[in-house]
Structures are given as structure tokens and as C-alpha cells.
């Protein structure tokens, strides 16, 4: 049987199947099914954090950003290096978030704002170059080794489900954090002035300008938000997925699938599609391990047949 190795590009990095070696051959009893369900949800919700930035940045600024997966990787590496310095993952994340927001603002200000009016081709070109730069900088700064990040002591235990099956608290915590963030995003988009601008911007870019909104600032903020969300996903995923080179690439491609299924620019489409993909991938890995990698893409193919524009239109 093929067992994915950490660091190979073929691995779905967010998902380390629980009790992988012994459980895959077990029959699907209820507890086992329940565990996989939780795994799928956790994977999907993490994907959502990365994908929603991608879809927002496209929906509002019209930019396709291949380097978005790199932000996930950068987040994971920041979490690892700060956690090994401070010895505390929570503290590392708290310190890391402002760093990634700054990184996002800086990148938008230095590079991305020159791409708004350009053809998608040049956006692809530049952000592809950016990936190479990020990967090499990562190699220079942090090296090429695989690193593990310890689960915070507070969340280290497991919840027993049956005699020999249990579920790690940290994984549950990831899901809860992601859900809280999704709720926060809902509040941000539906209830705040910034959200009003985001909604307006995603339906009609010209209109936002006509309303006299500071479009430059709005773009910088949204970009930074997207970067920070992706990096945050990398940070909280670090203890379960470990930290390794090229970890962003696979996430990026899956996020593209999420965006295609959910509909470009649609945050709620991204949420639904992320969870759908998380579940498909997880159960695929359990039921047909050799074909699991293909399953999410087949799901995308089905959606393309049915609704080429994705499930949702706009926000």
C-alpha cells in the first residue's frame, strides 16, 4: 500500500489520517465513521480559511494569486520558528498574525497593485515567480527539513469514543476555531461597513469607486486579510500536518478546486465547497486509498458538467 511520506508533493498535507496504520482495514462502524466525519470537517474548514482569501481577492480585485498557497506555508513556518523560540504555540500565533498582516500589506503595496488592470496571464506570471521566491527564501531562512510542532499542552489529550478509538482534542479545537472565524467573517461581511464595501466591490467594482470609497485602502485591507487567514490556517495546522517545504502548493491547487466548485468570489460557496472536498477526500482515503487523490477532481468535473460557473454567484 502506498503510504504518503511527509514532504512529498502528492500528500494532502492537512490531513494525517488518525491511527492510519491500523484503522484503514477496519469495517466502517459508527465510531470510526464519526471520526472520519470529524477529520473531513476539520480538513475542509482549514481549506476554507485559505480558499476564502483566494476567492475574495479574486472577486474584489480580479487577481488570480498562485502564491496564495505560499502564505499557508509561511504561516506554518512562522508558527514553528516562533513556537520553538517562545515554547508556546498560542503565543507564537499571536505574534505571527501581525507579521502576516504586515506581509500582506507590504506585498499588495509593492507588487499586487500593479496587476489590477493587467491581463490574468501576467498575474499568473508574477505570482508564479513569487512562489519561486518564497520557496527559496524559506529554504534560505528556515532550511529544507521537515519539522514537527508540538500540540499545546492544554489541548494535547484525546476524547475517548470507544474502547480503542479516541479523537484528539487539538483537531476538534481546529474545527471550532475555524467555525468561529467563519462566523466572524459572516459578521464582517454582512454587518460592518467594511463588509458593505466588500459586498459592493464583489458585485460591481466601478460602483465602489463611484461611492467615494478609498479603493486603495480597501484593496490593501482585503489582501492583508486574505494573507493573514491563509497564514493562520498554516499556523494552526502545523501541529497536525508538520512543517515542510512546498507544503503550500498542494493546498493551493485544492483551493482552486474549492473556488471553482464554490463559484469565484463567493465566500459561502467556498465554505460549502471546502467542507464537501474535505469530506470527499477523507472518505475517499478510507474507502479507496489509491484513488483518493483523484476523487476531489472528479467532484470538480461533476460540478463543471452541472454548473460551469460554480455553485454560488458572488459572496
Amino acid at each position: 500500500m502506498f503510504i504518503p511520506r511527509a514532504g512529498t508533493r502528492g500528500q494532502a498535507p492537512l490531513l494525517i489520517p488518525h491511527n492510519r496504520d491500523s484503522e484503514e482495514t477496519r469495517p466502517m462502524d459508527t465510531a470510526f465513521f464519526f471520526i472520519q466525519l470529524l477529520n473531513g470537517l476539520q480538513y475542509g474548514l482549514l481549506l476554507f480559511l485559505v480558499a476564502c482569501g483566494l476567492t475574495l481577492i479574486f472577486g474584489i480585485m480580479g487577481i488570480i494569486n498562485l502564491a496564495h498557497g505560499s502564505f499557508y506555508m509561511i504561516g506554518a513556518y512562522i508558527a514553528w520558528s516562533l513556537a520553538s523560540m517562545t515554547g508556546n504555540l498560542a503565543l507564537a500565533i499571536l505574534l505571527g498574525i501581525p507579521l502576516t498582516v504586515l506581509l500582506g500589506m507590504l506585498l499588495e503595496w509593492l507588487l499586487f497593485r500593479y496587476l489590477y488592470a493587467r491581463d490574468h496571464l501576467y498575474q499568473v506570471l508574477m505570482t508564479y515567480g513569487l512562489i519561486l521566491v518564497f520557496e527559496e527564501l524559506r529554504s534560505l531562512v528556515w532550511g529544507d527539513d521537515v519539522h514537527g510542532v508540538a500540540v499545546p499542552a492544554l489541548l494535547a489529550g484525546s476524547i475517548p469514543l470507544t474502547d480503542n478509538l479516541s479523537y484528539p482534542i487539538y483537531r476538534l479545537a481546529i474545527s471550532v476555531i475555524c467555525l468561529v472565524l467563519a462566523g466572524g467573517l459572516y459578521w464582517l461581511i454582512q454587518k460592518t461597513r467594511l463588509g458593505m464595501m466588500i459586498r459592493a466591490g464583489s458585485t460591481n467594482r466601478e460602483m465602489v469607486q463611484a461611492l467615494g470609497i478609498n479603493i486603495k485602502l480597501l484593496y490593501t485591507l482585503i489582501f492583508a486579510l486574505g494573507v493573514a487567514l491563509a497564514a493562520f490556517a498554516g499556523m494552526i495546522a502545523a501541529p497536525v500536518s508538520s512543517v515542510y517545504p512546498n507544503m503550500g502548493a498542494q493546498v493551493l491547487i485544492i483551493c482552486f478546486v474549492v473556488v471553482v466548485i464554490g463559484g469565484i468570489g463567493s465566500v459561502w460557496g467556498a465554505l460549502l465547497a471546502s467542507v464537501l472536498i474535505g469530506l470527499t477526500d477523507t472518505f475517499g482515503k478510507v474507502l479507496l486509498p489509491e484513488y483518493a487523490g483523484v476523487s476531489t477532481y472528479l467532484l470538480m468535473a461533476l460540478v463543471l458538467l452541472w454548473r460551469p460557473e460554480g455553485l454560488f454567484k458572488r459572496i
Binding site: 508533493r9 488570480i64 493587467r118 490574468h120 521566491v133 478546486v257 471553482v260 463543471l304
Partner: protein, 330 residues
Amino acid sequence: MRTKRAVLLPLVLLTLLLAVFPLVGETFYIQLLTKVMIMAIFAMSLDLLVGYTGLVSLGHAAFYGLAGYVLARVAPQYEPASLWTTLPLAMAACAAFALLTGLLVLRTSGVYFIMVTLAFAQMLFFVFHDTPIGGGSDGIYIYAKPLVKIGETTLLDLEDRSVFFWFVLGLMAVVYLFLRRVLDSNFGRALVGIKTNEHRLQALGFPTFRYKLASYMLSGTLAGLAGYLAAAQFGFVNPEILGWHTSGGVLMMVILGGMGSVHGAALGAFAFILLQEVLSNQSWFGAVAKHWQLAMGLFIIGVALLLPRGLMGLMGVAGYFTGKAKSVDE
């Protein structure tokens, strides 16, 4: 077309120079140039899609890798396979895959198309990476180059690196002339029409979907030719060749070449590979050479921000023999 002659002469000279190279060049450079020419075929095939039909694919490696895997799977383990059967089979497999995925990806356009092509290439990556047919992440070795025989007479001994070089050079020239021909036909004109204003072309009565599908299949099949040659040259295939860095690389070549000129794409391939070789040259850059991708990345960012028409634009070469289509583009 109008500026045809202006570019024809340098191209013929360049081809002649290439043709005599194996007689004087070192083995390393013969092999490097062979690789460059294979990439040139690959880049030209993608240019048909990106530069002429206006479809930006980020999954072109799928065809390139698929053809290589077909060769690897069909060839007997330690003996050479016949080129007469394996090459058509590899290209047919690419055409079939293009038809199958084309029916789906061409339902989308623009940025969706970019993402979906990437995703389908990744799907194929997983097929060869995870399932038994692909040999896992280590890939499959191809121990012998294909045989070009009629009856018992060997027409070309591809094991000879010079012969292989000329074989690839010949195919590159054939692909170039073929694409020039195709692009100058009614079909080719319609493709440029699709790139410029698909909606209008449809209103004139062109079944644009079919044109795009034909372009996609043609492009994929030619990419398969490149992938077949690459697999034969390197002697192995692994999932990396289907990876998105392969797709990204070839797209870079096309963009560097300025898009929308067939020889531009080929020159883009030359420039890209040579740049790669120079930047990763340890005797020149020492320990830094290990991180050559940093310089490459910065270079690509620079091109994206500063040179909207690629290197061809920089050199001021008359790369726009499709002047009709490009002259007032921006």
C-alpha cells in the same frame, strides 16, 4: 504573411547552426540543446492555445507527462520499443485526454480555465502517483530509446546522441512549419478571432466551442510529442513531469517569447532553459547556485511587471508577424 520573410532568414540560419552543432559540440551541450529543442516543441504547442486561441492553460504538463508515461508503460522493460507504434499511441492518448478534459474545461473561460486546467493536470498527477499504473513517486525507467526501423533496417539509431539531436531538430522544424501552416489557414484565423472577440465570432455563425476544442486537442497532442521525446531522452518518467512546475515553466517560456508568434515560443524555451542553466551553474555562482530559483523568480516578477510583451518585446525583434492581430492590441 507580411513580415514572414524578415524572420525566415534568421530562423533558417539558426536551424543550420543547430544542425552542425553535434559535429563540434561537447556531449553535455548536445544533450542540453536537445532538451531545449524538446521544450521548444512543448512551448510552441502551448502557444497555439495561449497566444492564438486566448486560452491560458496552467495544466499543459498533463499531456507532456501522459505521453511519457504511455511510452514507459508500453515499452518492454529492458528492450527498445518501436517508435512506429509507441509515438502514435502516445499522441493518440493525449488527443483522447484532451477531448475528454476539453469538453469540461472549455465550458469555462478566463480565470476559471486557468484553475480548472491546473486541477485536471493535478488529477493526472495523482493517477500516476497513487495508483498502480504509474509506479508511484519514483516513476518508471525507460532503458532504451525507441527504435526507428523498417523491416530489419534501422533508419535512425536514436541511441546515438547526435542522431537523436537531429531527429529532435527535424521534428521541431516540422512542428514549427505545421503550426505556421495551420495558423495561416481559415481555421487559424478563426482561432485568433476567438482570442480577440469570441462572442462576435459566434454571432457570425462560427461554432467556436468546436474550434476551441480542436485547438485544445491539437495543442495537447503536440505537447504529447514533446513529452514522448523528453521521456525517451531522459530515460525515465516520474509524476514530477506532470507537476504544476512543469506547466508553469512552459507557460513562462511562452510568455517570455512574447506569445502569438510560433518562433517566439521556441526562442522563449531557449531563453528559459539557458537562463536556468546559467543561474544554477555552480562554477559561476558557487553555493548561491543552489538557490537559483530565487533569481529566476525575481526575473519572472520583473518580466511580469515591466515587459508586457516578453523578451521579444525587449529585443524589438519583429515577433509580431501576426501584426494584423496584435498591432493595436494595447
